[in-house]
């Protein structure tokens, strides 16, 4: 099974990278771009797990390892069974 986990900064936390990207896009004339937030994505291959097992495992590793719960949140989805 392949899952995708998106990790992003909490809304109130400063995102200097996203800001820099937005400014660069503005400089290049892409004025339609109002805001950019940058995060991380993990694509994880899991072996021999049921859907339910994955639904227990993924939040656990996301919380414990992939995201820094103090400043980040995560979301996940199954890409392939």
């Amino acid at each position: 099974m392949r899952v995708r986990i998106l990790v992003s900064l909490k809304a109130s936390v400063l995102d200097p990278q996203g800001q820099a990207v937005r400014n660069a896009l503005h400089t290049l004339g892409y004025k339609a771009v109002e805001d950019v937030r940058q995060g991380k994505v993990f694509e994880v291959d899991l072996a021999g797990l049921s859907r339910d097992e994955a639904a227990r495992l993924v939040p656990e590793i996301a919380h414990k390892v992939l995201a820094n719960p103090i400043i980040e949140t995560y979301a996940w989805e199954i890409l392939e069974e």
């Binding site: 820099a20 990207v21 660069a24 400089t27």
Partner: protein, 230 residues
């Protein structure tokens, strides 16, 4: 003969480079502002190290859009000499003036230390004051210096003598351990096909005075002086 050192927001080896060129090598050196459109008559443009635009997004990725880079590109296309050091090398890759890309160091940590590199081609305008096989001691300081290029590109640059420096041990041997950041083919510096643009990860400006522990970096600057003189 005159150098020009480009200052991007976030450059931080700009003044070190200017110091080496003016005070150590003793050549007039212009400071080139990234928002300008003027190379101020520089015979050689140096893109210095640092964290242009914070290195946000990717190292060197945003700096390449600076107004002055248009001039630098045209200058290079007309055969002008361009040297990119560390972040400057990354900018040249992003700009497409040199092939390939940088990945994160194999140890996944920022790495600041002296390394030894071997001169692979002493016929370039950046190394003609050195000898082929000569081992130079210079510092590196980077997070993303793990050089990557497609096999076809690697074959091309190998075949055409475009690899200028490779990471080696102090005796000039290529070992896994000496290849500190995991670069393909241990590449520490390379030129474009025409030989007028070079990027290198080690910092020659940090190895130009005995008090800093090495003067090997001067070879790069002195080679440029010779190249321009001839």
């Amino acid at each position: 003969m005159k150098f020009g050192v480009v200052v991007f927001p976030g450059s931080n080896c700009d003044f070190d480079t200017v110091h080496a060129l003016r005070e150590v090598i003793g050549r007039p050196t212009e400071i080139l502002w990234h928002k300008d459109h003027d190379l101020r008559g520089a015979d050689c443009v140096v893109l210095p190290g640092g964290f242009s635009y914070g290195d946000y997004l990717r190292s060197g990725a945003i700096a390449r859009f600076s107004p002055l880079m248009q001039e630098v590109r045209e200058f290079a296309e007309k055969g002008g000499l361009v040297l990119g050091i560390c972040n400057g090398f990354q900018v040249l890759l992003e700009l497409g003036l040199l092939p390939g890309a940088m990945l994160r160091n194999k140890g996944l940590k920022f790495l600041c230390r002296f390394v030894t590199v071997r001169v692979e081609n002493a016929g370039t305008r950046f190394t003609n004051a050195g000898r082929k096989g000569q081992v130079l001691r210079m510092p590196i300081a980077h997070f993303d210096g793990n050089y990557y290029a497609d096999p076809a590109v690697l074959e091309d640059i190998e075949r055409n003598g475009r690899i200028v420096f490779r990471y080696c041990d102090p005796d000039g041997r290529l070992t896994d351990e000496a290849n500190v950041n995991g670069s393909l083919h241990a590449i520490a510096g390379l030129t474009n096909a025409r030989g007028n643009v070079m990027g290198m990860m080690p910092h020659p400006e940090r190895a130009s005075e005995a008090i800093l522990g090495s003067t090997d970096g001067r070879i790069v600057f002195e080679s440029l002086l010779r190249a321009i003189a001839s």
